[in-house]
């Protein structure tokens, strides 16, 4: 009521991408290329051992990034590790996003008993850090890749559920949903055409927050030796193997570690920027 800016229609300028975000996008692109095509650049397989070239530092002939205790090429291992880490991170985050969002929307749409059960499940999950749940499961069941993937996928589902439940409840009370209901729309139409498109970007924003956390969870579990198991490898798994030789063969831990850090950092910065752009308060002008 007391602002001085007009309420007339206005054209929105697209804000420029900051340099830091551009660098982040660049790194992510580089990482993905590395994972997809890196093997082209090295003649060695990631499991190929060599007795004569053990623990060679980076810059050695034929081994750009050095070798580990079994003479395996670190570069090749990093490429495979990057692939696995990438797959686990993306598939895992998608699992959590879809599962959590579905449950959250159901809770918001149905209310009553369904909602009560889902809310109780959210409360239980919120009381147990996902790493504890994962450790518990891994103690009881054999560590298959599928199980590990599912456990990592559970990371953060309760946040999605809580967010989407809140968003659904809010959307149900909003003006346009009331108006469309008054037009005679069926519940299916209301949800599919009106509620869902407007709450989906909340899940999208959470996805960008969740992805780096999933990366960190996978690498942490693999670092503890409880994640991806040999012969498969991941960036965290490579670090766990090199950990005992930290002083003598620092490249075995620090190189994969640096990649993990840069990846999590880049994804997180891109996510922050996307969140600022998608923020609902920017979308409708008052």
């Amino acid at each position: 009521m007391t602002d001085v800016h007009s309420t007339a229609p206005l054209a929105r300028k697209r804000p420029a991408i900051p340099l830091s975000v551009k660098l982040a996008l660049g790194f992510v692109a580089l990482f993905v290329m590395f994972a997809l095509f890196g093997h082209v650049l090295t003649p060695h397989g990631f499991r190929e051992t060599s007795l004569f070239h053990r623990l060679e530092p980076p810059g050695s002939e034929g081994y750009w990034l050095g070798t580990d205790a079994r003479g395996r090429d670190l570069f090749a291992r990093l490429v495979t590790g990057a692939q696995i880490t990438l797959v686990v991170a993306i598939v895992g985050t998608v699992i959590g996003a879809v599962l959590g969002s579905l449950l959250g929307i159901m809770a918001g749409a149905q209310r009553g008993k369904t909602e009560a059960v889902i809310v109780a499940a959210i409360d239980v999950q919120a009381s147990l850090p996902i790493i504890i749940v994962a450790l518990f499961m891994l103690a009881m069941f054999d560590n298959s890749f599928t199980l590990f993937l599912l456990l990592v996928g559970l990371n953060g589902w309760e946040v999605y559920a809580r967010l989407m439940r809140g968003a659904t409840l809010q959307a149900k009370e909003s003006g346009y949903v009331t108006a469309v209901r008054a037009l005679g729309a069926t519940p299916a139409r209301i949800y599919l055409r009106h509620v869902l498109p407007n709450i989906l970007n909340i899940a999208l924003v959470q996805f960008t927050v969740n992805l780096p956390l999933t990366i960190l969870l996978e690498t942490a579990l693999s670092f503890l030796g409880l994640g991806v198991q040999p012969p498969l490898t991941s960036l965290g798994q490579i670090m766990s193997e090199g950990r005992d030789r930290l002083m003598t063969a620092w490249w075995l831990t620090l190189l994969p570690g640096a990649i993990i850090f840069c990846l999590a950092l880049s994804v997180s910065m891109i996510g922050d920027w996307l969140r600022d752009r998608l923020d609902p308060t920017l979308r409708s002008e008052r």
Partner: protein, 302 residues
Amino acid sequence: MIGYILSRLLRAMLTMLVTVTLVFLFIRLSGDPAAALVPPDAPQSVIDQYSRAMGLDQPLWQQYLGYLAGLAQGNFGFSIHTGIAVEQTFLRRLPYTLHLGGTALALAVAIGIPIGALAAIRRGTPLDRLVMGFSVFAFAMPNFLFGLVMILVAALAFGTFLGGESANVIWPALTLGLAAMGSFARFTRSSVLETINAPYMRAAEARGVPFAKRLLRHAAPNAAIPLVTLIGLSLGALVAGSVVTEQVFAWPGVGQLLVRSVATRDLAQVQFLVLVVAATMVMANLIVDLLYLVIDPRIRAK
């Protein structure tokens, strides 16, 4: 107000009950619980005794009730490897973890909150960008990498070893607390920003209250309220982080115990630790909820 307290209590108990039930179900699913809960060299008669005592021949719901009764009586089982009661091992290691976690939390609060508040007051300045940059950095940094780098640098540059139980707690605490520092800084910044721009701040300015006093007596109490929730939530992150940090620094705490127990499939130990973590977090959330009654008069009215 009574309704609020009761409903929070009820919710806490329900959460704990569901957790215990799920733990029970999963252990039953995974194999023979009796064998898993006794030392490996126990004779079959002991295992049979345990089976009968645990009522494994009974229907599932009866076993469940027996399980609950056992927990209530403090029967948590024995470690497969050491034969020691699981709660004893836990209690012996607990002080180390508390020391580590407490120091980490103290660091996060002492550093994260003030820089977050400063960033909000000096919004848009290089200081603000520095603080935000730091919080993004702290968020993305894997704590095991940070710890390893610190150990490496300390060993190469100063020749000291930062791990083991005789080392100074400050190094693992810094590692563990780094992520929390970042999230506290970011959260405090947005909370303070919100309160600084609140209508009652402008009204206080119109009443002649000077800036410093407005910050201290109007903004701070309001900004502090969501911070309480944050500190409660950070407990989970600290628990999760200590699992890895204790491994890196060979710190003889509960986290290290958990990892070891999982690796050796010491189910009794793992089960106990999981339940303890759940109980701790449920209690912490309950305390936060009740603390709200004290600090926010609007909750008291409900």
